[in-house]
Amino acid sequence: MKESLRIVIVLTVFSILSGGILGWFNKYTEKRVALNNLTALQESLKAVTNMNPKIEAYESVVKEKGFELYKIFSGTETVAYAIVASGNGFQDKIKLIFGVKPDFSRIIDLRILEQKETPGMGAKIETKKYLEQWKGKGADSTLELVKKKPNTKYQVEAITGATVSSTSVLNIVNRALDRARKAIKEAEK
């Protein structure tokens, strides 16, 4: 009996000790971590809507797994929407954020937040050259992928040698746009 009692006491005491230390330690780091995440979000929002959203200048409309919608204000008038979306890429998840004009006519800009595509090929979706072309793309109908120079605002040029990654990014954007349009309609009702 004594032996099993000792087992319970020792393990429980140590766990409580560790719980206490971590609880106390977490109090210090928690604020910093929250701050980091907040600044990271603001960085990306600013990047895709090339506006400087101060903390109260945006509002999260929808927050679900794999899809987030933010409304950006300047003063009281909605200046843009920012959409965070993720989907399956070539190797693993791709998470991206892009800004859209309030009337959903044009995409302002696009940034890749997280990706584990093959370095040197799929990973090129993070390069400036690829991201530049997204500026001003049409957001009011489905986009399509082309291998050569695009000629309409609904065409996006794929990266040579990384067609799967390029298509994945395109699909994520198209799906996110449809979802955002539906969410905005409901929000207005």
Binding site: M1, E3, S4, L5, I7, V8, V10, L11, T12, F14, S15, I16, S18, G19, G20, L22, G23, W24, N26, K27, E30
Partner: protein, 261 residues
């Protein structure tokens, strides 16, 4: 309630529940275990890394206790653990004194006759199958160092004339070199036993003279001089009791094969 208190309660409750389960399981599911396994397991590092080829230290301890595994497979533990395990196993066998490897052949490249060159794989095992790699004596050491490769304690090395030399202070008597030698000329004996007939050839007197200058030619002089200490068995003199071997017998040995190291 502030986070630290909450985290203490969470950790405390999870630990309490699981330690209770362990305690109950420990009491109800007691299983009798061979004490030696426990002893060996306590010496092993318990990393369960599987580097010894056995899935986990517990399994390796059981294998060593049942004699299925040599005591030095634990790379993580290195030499100290291997010596400890060997001691536990050794102790278990009753006598306390240490065992060492002895090479019963001194017919190196110069002293023995080689009738052919050998190009095959440079291992004793392969040479032995390929007719002794040109060494005339069919019992003697082939010199390709299988024993050296097998020894994890670096306690045996080839000398420049192609004959293995045992370093007593490093040898733990684990027997791996004896196992590796295809000609079985290495014996594991207590360290006190120092007098041997350093030859393993059962060839006839005429044949053994032809093949090697330092072989036992079964002349029988030593057996006659100290009958209690030596015995002739199938053309090879064997030391039965080292104390009873007289110095006279050692001097009189024509090929100087019988001596004390």
């Amino acid at each position: 309630m502030s986070t630290p208190i909450l985290s203490i309660i969470t950790m405390g409750s999870i630990a309490a529940i699981f330690s209770l389960i362990i305690a109950i399981a420990y009491r109800k599911l007691k299983v009798k275990v061979d004490p030696r396994v426990e002893e060996i397991f306590s010496v092993l590092p318990g990393v369960n890394c599987g580097a010894c080829g056995y899935p986990g230290c517990q399994n390796y301890a059981e294998a060593v206790a049942s004699g299925a595994a040599p005591p030095n497979k634990c790379t993580v533990g290195g030499a100290e653990v291997a010596a400890l395990v060997a001691k536990i196993m050794g102790l278990e066998a009753g006598e306390v004194e240490r065992k060492v490897a002895r090479v019963l052949c001194i017919g190196d490249r110069e002293k023995s006759v080689w009738t052919a060159g050998y190009e095959g794989p440079q291992t004793c095992a392969a040479a032995n199958v390929a007719g002794g790699a040109g060494k005339a004596c069919s019992y003697g050491c082939l010199g390709f160092g299988d024993c050296v490769k097998a020894c994890p304690f670096d306690a045996i090395r080839m000398n420049d004339k192609g004959l293995p030399v045992v370093y007593e202070e490093k040898c733990t008597g684990c027997g791996l070199c004896a196992e590796a030698c295809p000609r079985d000329i290495i014996v594991i004996e207590p360290i006190e036993k120092r007098t041997y007939v350093f030859c393993s050839s059962h060839d006839s007197p005429k044949r053994s003279r032809e093949v090697c200058s330092v072989s036992c030619i079964a002349c029988g002089i030593c057996v006659r001089l100290s009958p209690e200490g030596l015995e002739m068995k199938d053309n090879l003199a064997i030391v039965t009791d080292p104390e009873k071997v007289s110095d006279q017998a050692i001097e009189k040995c024509p090929t100087k094969v019988l001596f004390k190291i």
